[in-house]
Amino acid sequence: MERVFEMDVQIHELVGAVHEAAWLPWAVQYFFLIAMSVTALLMSLPGFVFGREAALPKARLALMVAVTTGITAPIALLADLHQPGRFWEFFVYTHKTSWMAWGAWVVPSYVGLLILFAWAIHRPAFYRWGQQDWRFAWLFRLLSLGGEANWFARPLGMAAGVAALAILVYTGMEVTIVRARPLWNTPFLPLQFAATGFVGALGAMLVLERVLSRDGALEARLNRNLAAALAVVGALGLAWFALASSGLSPRHAEALASVAGFPVWQKIATWGALSIAVPFVLALVLPRNSGWVTGLIAIHAAWMFRWTVFMGGQAVPKVGSGLYDALMPTGIAGLMGVIGTFGLWLFLIIAYTTFIPWAEAGQPDDGRGAKAPGHPVRSV
């Protein structure tokens, strides 16, 4: 808690210990990718689960983002453990008071349901591709498990949606409850994680739309969605700042006080505001042919928010003075996690667009939904 001392006091720290960041850039990658995955999954539901035919083009891109980030995220999480070989202990010694312990159950549940849902959505196309006479037909016969029924996709999608909400709750709460880090210990943080997750997912969908579909109407629609998500992020940011600077919320005030005096943080705040404002204006004014720019800035904004929260938060000493190194690490070692996970994500996107009949994905055939398109678009 910030206190005001009446007397004039000057303190110079002559000897102090420097603490390195214990959560590494791998953690930034995990929280970035998993938030994109769950928000993308939620955006795929109107098209695939709730019967909105017009939402199908968006849902296909959303599911692609959800699956590729959803597979990459847990790998980043595992890499952030200093004893990754002991991950099984999470399931044997679950400590009920720890949000992380609950997360250990929620994450595999979500990823499992997500993959099952994606498989169910694509099963009819797997089957069709398996029936044709071509080189990889055997692979698709294998993937279809010998049938094309996918009536179960809807309940699977809804279950994955519930798990996605559980991920948003646990990732937000896991960080928010850490009282020792004022920058994390703010009630708004879970909402900010969710809102910036939507921004990142829409950014990735915009970039993929430009690469794969080049459908102007879809681009405009995604840009409108992005503008809405950015407006929410901006509103949350303004409310955060208003609560902190007015002192209405002591926790927010403490968070602001912990970083406000540092010029580097003032630059970060300006940078963050621009990363929201620029794509917001572009998406509104130029909804077509701006997808590359708005998409990439949106991905950047979602990533940077997490880097600032996690690495920046760990750069603030709990008892010592000044700042530690975590915010701006020097050297390539810390960035290897970032480069590695982005590389894996890119690989998975290439694999997904090459081997998965994503463009044929339609609504599940349970007797009331629409069928998939009649003309296969094979990319292999």
Partner: protein
């Protein structure tokens, strides 16, 4: 158990004279020794008036516990304080795990590797710890770290391996000025209990409500939280910020 090195050496003398006495029992008061229900609750009282910032405790801890080069289980922060334009004063502040009775590091541990031992020590089961570092984040005293040789969470144990055989923690035993005092807070006759009764004491970060078991005599309130001053260390890319930072003042 005796409170500091001088008292402990005296106790050792008594042990060598009285063959029936054990080292562990040497310092325990008669009240505590005769009560079958008595449970020891270890605590430390640091008399800052006696600390000279020699870092002997820092070195003793490193040697005793094989602490890796890039970390500390305990160290002494040193500050220069200038109040109302008066002459600068050098102030020492030994820091270590506070072995809180309400430790924030404990509930966050996902695999129950962190636990509160019978005598109040907050310990880590290194064979169980997954190295997630959630406890490192939750500790409000920056008293935990990931040991890069063992890849698990590491911290002060109050020298559990020594106290369980009747020895003082290494930092207490080596303290040159007798600033670090260690003993049973549940024993009203122990030196630490007496010090708590007879002195005005304070704890670090009282606003966190962690109920620490490390107490300080003579702690200036400007140092009991995050110290808002010019730092000794300036990271290459953010160092410019230090001079103008006035948080908390």
């Amino acid at each position: 158990m005796d409170t500091n090195r001088r008292g402990f050496l005296g106790a050792m003398g008594r042990v060598s004279i009285g063959a029936a006495a054990t080292v562990a029992g040497a310092g325990q008061s008669a009240t505590a020794a005769t009560d079958p229900d008595h449970r020891t609750h270890w605590g430390m009282v640091v008399d800052l008036r006696k600390c000279i910032g020699c870092q002997a405790c820092t070195v003793a801890c490193i040697m005793e516990n094989d602490v890796p080069e890039d970390a500390f289980r305990t160290h002494v922060s040193v500050y220069e304080l200038v109040k109302d334009g008066q002459d600068p004063a050098m102030v020492m502040l030994p820091r270590l795990c506070n072995h809180c009775d309400n430790p924030p590091c404990l509930p966050v541990c996902p695999v129950e590797a962190t636990f509160k031992a019978e005598n109040g020590e907050v310990l880590v089961d290194a064979s169980k710890c997954v190295g997630c570092a959630y406890c490192v984040q939750a500790c409000p005293y920056d008293a935990r770290f990931i040991n890069h040789e063992t890849q698990v969470a590491d911290k002060c144990t109050f020298c559990f391996h020594r106290t369980s055989v009747g020895l003082l923690p290494a930092c207490v035993e080596t303290c040159v000025g007798g600033a670090r005092n260690f003993g049973d807070l549940n024993d009203p006759d122990s030196e630490v209990s007496r010090m708590l009764r007879e002195n005005e004491v304070s704890v670090l970060r009282p606003e966190m409500h962690t109920n620490p078991n490390v107490y300080y005599i003579g702690l200036d309130e400007v140092l009991d939280g995050r110290v808002a001053g010019e730092a000794a260390y300036r990271p290459p890319l953010t160092g410019e910020a230090q001079a103008t930072h006035g948080e908390g003042l």
